[in-house]
């Protein structure tokens, strides 16, 4: 009986890739490639059916040998890769590995076509026969889903385009040497292809917004309320921002308003010099993260700010210590809220992604194989795209689009199409699970997180509104008078007893270091107290993305200056009423304005009004706005 050509070809394939056969046919891969190309060349004269059959069988034999040969090359290159790992040489070796894997996938497809068997069977035969033990990292993977060229995926679901866009942007901005988010991409594409119902349900879900930065915290400018350029008669206990600014911008933060230069720092930021600023370090620092310091210098050199930071120009220095109240998001109270209310919702979303992915992966060997090979395909093609000349010349936006296009198109052709056409079959049970559990669970998780996002913003706002008390010591250096020190207790409570208005209170006592009795000075210089009510309202002048608000405050201050007692033309009791506002305009520009009524000044018993106004440009805010506008 004459054997069927298909059976003969498969038999030949299995025989040729057995270890014995490998030993006997140590033909060079390039020779095999040449022979295949020669046989595949179009015939010069018309071929008979039997000739074509012989040629086809010969090609199948050659492809089978080539497959074994390529596996040997892959193993050899893998060994090289392991040797050069961690060096610059690894990139070129990886590229060669990718090419070999692509070639292997094409050879498997050719074999399947010529032997009339499906790719999975060829791959299974090859996998079983060609396994060369541990250490061969590539031949053990089923190769039944070769990487096929991408095709347009114009109607991709929002969740998929979102994760692909994020991963692409991270590659375009070189965040990490790798492609993040592949599992999520795979899951979303699978759900899109599983059934018309699952696709529709998935498209009803909005892209996930992280519970991340949504608002800007208050910014306390340095210097005390009675430095020369201060427009406010009250000092705020804003210690938190001092710490944040100092550490973020280096150990010492610099701020200048043209008249004064203020350098501020915290003991923690000094403690962390030379160390990694990790959560562990922060905890070890203990009380140091409660103490901040600042020094203010008179500006006489406008070209070099730091040149003013010398002893002669020092007008005051101060130390602040937080006594009670913790407005940080690391406070125990806030952490408890996070752990009890928010973290479980994040876990639920991760489970709504992870559990389906796990079920799908464990549902069939083919799905595992598809995941592994498509992941390799995505990574390889992304790396390849980043090496193109047009990619290197493109802007960040252009690069992001290029990578996004590569990823979406490959997901379409390699995952979506294969599921849609049945090349990879999902069981009815799985499709039902996708429609009735996977997508609904994901929707519920996303909805809960969206709701929690609003609650979280409110919790952060409430945190900033909690009571805060600090103790401040300020040393004033008076070039033409007597130096003195001031101690102050500062308190702040937002949205408390006085409704939407923030209450700020100061009580202070100051002392002369060397009282000049000829100037009627005693050891105690003055006693002062101040109370402020402040609020905010939306600004009609700012851009949509600028959340800056109009701020306003009413301040009452009383000071008893003891040296003015019994001095002609002066009074010891000085009262001040003040209205301060700042109106944000656009691009970080704002207009501060204040009007002050005083019953007297320190120098003379003369009541009167004083107006202060000007413009302020917040460079941080300007940068944020420019960044938001460029969608960076």
């Amino acid at each position: 009986m004459k054997p069927h050509p298909t059976i003969a070809a498969v038999l030949a394939l299995v025989l040729c890739i057995c270890p014995l056969c490998v030993a006997q046919t140590s033909v060079d891969c390039d020779t095999l490639r040449e022979k295949i190309n020669t046989l595949k060349a179009p015939p010069t004269t018309e071929e008979s059916a039997s000739t074509r059959q012989v040629k086809n069988k010969a090609l199948a034999d050659l492809y089978a040998q080539l497959l074994t040969c390529i596996d040997g090359e892959i193993k050899a290159v893998t060994d090289i890769r392991n040797t050069v790992a961690g060096t610059n040489a690894v990139e070129a070796v990886d590229k060669k590995l990718g090419e070999l894997r692509d070639e292997r996938a094409s050879v498997v497809a050719e074999l399947a076509q010529r032997t009339g068997t499906n790719i999975a069977n060829v791959a299974a035969s090859v996998s079983a026969a060609a396994s060369t033990g541990p250490g061969n990292t590539f031949t053990q993977t089923q190769t039944n889903f070769p990487c096929v060229p991408g095709e347009a995926y114009p109607d991709a679901p929002p969740l998929l385009t979102d994760i692909v866009g994020k991963a692409a942007l991270d590659i375009a901005t070189s965040q990490n040497p790798g492609l993040s988010g592949i599992p999520n991409m795979f899951l979303y594409t699978t759900i899109d292809a599983a059934s018309p119902t699952s696709s529709e349900l998935l498209r009803g879900l909005e892209a996930y917004q992280y519970l991340s930065e949504t608002a800007r915290t208050d910014k306390q400018l340095g210097g005390s309320s009675n430095s020369n350029a201060a427009v406010s008669a009250i000092e705020k206990p804003g210690f938190v921002s001092l710490l944040g600014l100092a550490v973020e911008h280096g150990a010492i933060d610099k701020k200048t308003d043209g008249t004064n230069l203020t350098l501020s720092t915290s003991l923690y930021s000094l403690y962390v010099i030379g160390k990694e600023n990790t959560a562990e370090t922060y905890q070890q620092a203990g009380v140091l993260n409660r103490i901040g310091a600042a020094a203010t210098f008179a500006v006489d050199n406008t070209t070099d700010d730091l040149a003013n930071a010398r002893r002669n120009n020092l007008s005051q220095w101060s130390v602040k210590a937080r006594l009670f109240g913790d407005r940080s998001t690391r406070s125990k109270q806030f952490q408890k809220k996070w752990n009890d209310e928010i973290a479980p919702l994040i876990d639920a979303r991760l489970e709504a992604l992870g559990a389906p992915l796990e079920e799908l992966t464990e549902s069939s060997a083919d799905y595992k194989s598809l995941r592994t090979q498509v992941a390799n395909c995505l990574r390889r093609n992304v790396v390849k795209r980043t090496e193109d000349t047009d990619y290197k010349a493109a802007t960040t936006e252009g690069r992001t689009k290029m990578i996004t296009d590569v990823l979406l198109s490959l997901l379409r052709s390699n995952v979506y199409n294969r599921i849609k056409t049945g090349q990879l079959q999902l069981s009815d049970k799985i499709v039902t699970a996708v429609e009735t559990r996977y997508v609904p669970n994901l929707k519920a998780a996303l909805d809960n997180l969206k709701k929690a996002g609003g609650e979280l913003d409110k919790a952060i706002e409430d945190l900033k509104a909690g009571p805060l008390a600090t103790f401040a010591y300020t040393n004033f250096r008076i070039p033409t008078g007597s130096d003195y020190s001031e101690t102050k207790f500062l308190f702040e409570q937002d949205k408390g007893f006085f409704g939407p208005l923030k209450l700020t209170g100061n009580v202070g006592l100051s002392f002369y270091h060397r009282p000049d009795h000829t100037l009627n000075q005693d050891r105690v210089r003055d006693f002062s107290t101040a109370l402020s009510f402040s609020g905010t309202s939306d600004s009609p002048f700012t851009e949509a993305e600028n959340k800056s608000k109009i701020t306003y405050s009413f301040v009452g201050r009383y000071q008893r200056l003891f040296e003015n007692r019994r001095v002609l033309g002066r009074t010891a009791d000085i009262g001040t009423l003040q209205f301060v506002t700042e109106i944000p305009l656009f691009k970080g520009l704002s207009l501060p304005f204040s009007v002050t009524y005083s019953s007297a000044t320190e120098e003379e018993k003369k009541q009167g009004f004083r107006f202060n106004f000007g413009t302020r440009l917040d460079m941080d805010k300007l940068f944020d706005l420019l960044k938001a506008n460029s969608n960076f």
Binding site: N82, A85, P134, G135, T137, Q140, Q142, G165, K166, A167, L169, D170, T173, Q175, N176, P177, G178, L179, S180, G181, I182, P183, N184, Y208, Y210, L211, S212, E213, A215, L243, G244, V247, E248, Y268, N277, T278, A279, E280, Y282, Q283, N289, S328, T329, R330, F334, W338, I342, I346, L350, E351, L353, G354, A355, L357, E358, E359, K368, S369, T372, I460
Partner: protein, 119 residues
């Protein structure tokens, strides 16, 4: 463990894998890293609050995949230079140091790591 890229590794059956996360420059801002391994919530080792340490032993067979999903949070007000330093390690690691950084400026704050079992 053999590195394919920062988010993909080849591992061996019974190999112990550790993912250690070091939050850096957060100062007094909350940090949070949540994880899921193979569909189940993955909790860090006890006493690793300040540098969460996740561990697992490769229990799946050859050609199977362990999937770890993460979400890193940067809460409102956290410093612009805050980041999570993630170090992935196994046994007889090839191509390492392995891992990645998730900065506040990163677009994708929910990376997945795939561990493919090869032997």
């Amino acid at each position: 463990m053999n590195k394919i890229d920062a988010f993909a590794y080849e591992v061996h059956h019974n190999e112990s894998i550790v993912v250690e996360v070091t939050p850096t420059n957060f100062n007094d801002s909350l940090f949070s890293v949540r994880a899921n391994l193979d569909g189940k919530t993955w909790t860090p080792e006890p006493d690793s609050d300040n540098a969460p340490r996740f561990e697992f032993t490769v229990g799946k067979e050859v050609n199977d995949i362990h999937t770890a999903l993460f979400e890193f949070t940067f809460i409102a007000g956290s410093p612009e230079n805050a980041f999570y330093d993630v170090v992935v390690s196994g046994e007889d690691d090839e191509g390492c140091p392995c891992g990645f950084k998730i900065r506040k400026t990163a677009a994708n704050k929910e990376p997945g790591i795939e561990f493919t079992v090869i032997a």
